[in-house]
């Protein structure tokens, strides 16, 4: 893997390309390829050109940062002042927020160039991006397959070189799983390391913004640019000063392998990960077996907590202040009910209903309260595992990218595909997914590296070893902006 951001930045710094020139190249490629791939749902080319001009000034004045002038995308659930932000839902049609998410504000200040908003499952509820109101994005590696989700559009855009990097959000794997399906890198930082202000909430105690990139180096650069305490987000917290240093130092690193992570995983995926583990062992890392019995509880716990929070978070979509409003109704109450009934998709309604159920009187103790207790069990068992190792290696998903339309049939089976990613969100840990070979169909396999809370730098550095040694290769797709 190569750092796309560093390479592009070098061209901009040397004056070989201007940011505006680079931006136009991306725009041309997006115009050419996006109609098929459907990675972007809202294009912000006017904004991009303005950003690029500002970036060129920054560069000429010697005020450039590593991300200055580099074109990127935001998931459609990150608020952008005056620019459509719709969570790929009909209910938010036309919504132009009048404030910026903290991450966009930070990137804008560093001269980033916003190309557009990328496709996703409606309100980030899904693992294939097929619940998007705008239709699913296609996996650039094999367009008959899904991108994964929910940040599928961002992963597709990065994979197809239609953006240098993307910001996604990860509530139960929504950055890592699509990154794995599209053969790119996806990093979910520690809960609180990146401000959630401006992220349209799904499961507030689980949601975290992070980068989708073509390399671990890029992931670290973007992470450094967006992280840190934010007064506007009371759940955010300070992160270490300075740049995340990548050395790929894995000698004596203790890598934990929990057998529970490999139950029900396809042999191909298990084989790919075993190979990677063996490479690290050869480099001097120690492999430690650990056990996290409560891991299998993580999935139902996740769905209960995420849906409970979602049922509350999505209550505000009532047609009064923004977005879609039902056309005919008999009272304000009726307007609200009709707006929501017509505005939300099927999966969203199902999760709202589940969330309402687990919070309602009579069921609260049996579901929500119990799930909160079990969440602590998962958290505590993971913490226990980290007493024996520095990082955990695990598959990102039990399978590679499905065929389009497959998940429509069996809801629960699709939920099960989140089994490897949700424990990290439950426990608020940092984790990265890096490419780890391909299956027999040539579809990318992803491997997760998981760290304890606030060991984001260690997670990135561990992943960087695979990048440095060319053990991890991003999918190589025709087209897009290439160096």
């Amino acid at each position: 893997m190569k750092s796309v951001i560093s390479a592009l930045s070098a061209k901009l710094q040397s004056g070989e390309w201007s940011s505006l020139y680079l931006t136009e190249k991306y725009i041309k490629e997006i115009e050419r390829r996006n109609p098929k791939l459907n990675a972007y749902v809202h294009l912000t080319f006017d904004e991009a050109r303005k950003n690029a001009e500002a970036a060129d000034v920054m560069i000429s004045e010697g005020r450039a940062t590593p991300l200055t002038g580099i074109p990127f995308t935001l998931k459609d659930n990150i608020a952008t002042d005056g620019l459509l932000t719709t969570c790929c839902s009909k209910i938010l049609q036309g919504l132009k927020p009048y404030y910026n998410a903290t991450v966009w504000q930070k990137l804008k200040a560093q001269g980033a160039v916003l190309l557009g908003k990328t496709n996703m499952d409606e309100f980030a509820m899904g693992s294939t991006s097929e619940t998007s109101y705008f239709g699913a994005p296609l996996n650039p590696v094999d367009t008959t397959r899904v991108t994964g989700g929910s940040s599928g559009g961002g992963a597709a855009a990065v994979c197809a070189n239609l953006a240098a990097y993307a910001l996604g959000s990860d509530t139960g794997g929504s950055i890592r799983q699509p990154a794995s399906f599209c053969g790119v890198v996806g990093f979910k930082p520690t809960y609180g390391a990146v401000s959630r202000y401006g992220l349209l909430a799904y499961g507030s105690s689980l949601d975290q913004i992070g980068p989708i990139t073509s390399s671990v180096t890029d992931a670290a650069l973007v992470y450094d640019a967006i992280r840190g305490d934010d007064k506007a987000d009371g759940t955010s917290c300070p992160t270490p000063d300075g740049k995340t240093v990548l050395r790929g130092d894995v000698k004596n690193l203790k890598i934990g392998v929990a057998k529970e992570y490999f139950e029900g995983i396809s042999p191909e995926i298990k084989g790919a990960i075993d190979n990677m583990i063996a490479e690290y062992e050869r480099a001097g890392a120690q492999i430690v077996e650990v056990s996290i019995p409560a891991l299998k509880l993580a999935l139902p716990v996740y769905y209960i907590i995420a849906c409970a929070e979602a049922s509350s978070n999505l209550g505000r979509y009532d047609g009064i202040r923004y977005g879609y409003r039902a056309k005919n109704y008999t009272s304000v109450d009726d307007m609200i009910t009709k707006t929501r009934t017509q505005g939300f998709g099927k999966e969203v309604k199902k999760r709202i209903m589940l969330g309402t159920y687990v919070l309602s009187s009579g069921y609260f103790d049996a579901y929500y309260k119990k799930a909160c207790l079990l969440r602590k069990t998962v958290e505590s068992q993971m913490a226990e595992a980290f007493e024996k190792c520095d990082v955990l290696f695990a598959p990102t998903a039990p399978n590679t990218a499905f065929k389009q339309g497959y998940s429509g049939g069996n809801a629960v089976e699709t939920y099960l595909s989140d089994v490897c990613t949700v424990p990290v969100n439950i426990a608020g840990l940092p984790a990265i997914s890096i490419p780890c070979g391909v299956d027999k169909n040539g579809m990318p396999v992803g491997m997760q590296i998981i760290g304890k809370k606030f060991s984001d730098a260690l997670v990135l550095d561990t992943a960087y070893y695979a990048e440095r040694e060319n053990l991890s290769l991003c999918a190589d797709v025709e087209g897009g902006v290439k160096l």
Partner: protein
């Protein structure tokens, strides 16, 4: 586990959603499937789940709270920029046929 129509209707009312009887018919089994899935939290797990060790939950202290200092509000045109405002209000016509 079976979820009866009445429960679904109550949940729909609380969720401000509407389902026709026909839709409930279709929705009920799907919803049951999900409830069954949620019930997996009751599955026994090998290993020690009883003695949950104290997990450190993050808290905030006095200094982390916001100071009571006025920040300028946004102009009304911004606040109401996503609707057709009337005299600065968010209007909802009570009946639209």
């Amino acid at each position: 586990m079976s979820v009866d129509q009445k429960t679904i209707k109550t949940l729909a009312r609380l969720s401000r959603l509407e389902f026709s009887d026909e839709e409930i018919e279709k929705f009920a089994p799907e919803f049951e499937e999900i409830i069954d899935f949620a019930n997996r939290i009751n599955e026994q797990v090998s290993g020690d789940t009883e003695s949950i060790r104290e997990v450190v939950t993050r808290t905030v202290g006095w200094e982390d709270l916001r100071e009571d200092e006025v920040k300028e509000s946004l102009p009304n045109e911004k606040i109401t920029s996503n609707v057709q405002a009337e005299n600065g209000y968010f209007p909802v016509r009570r009946v639209v046929k």
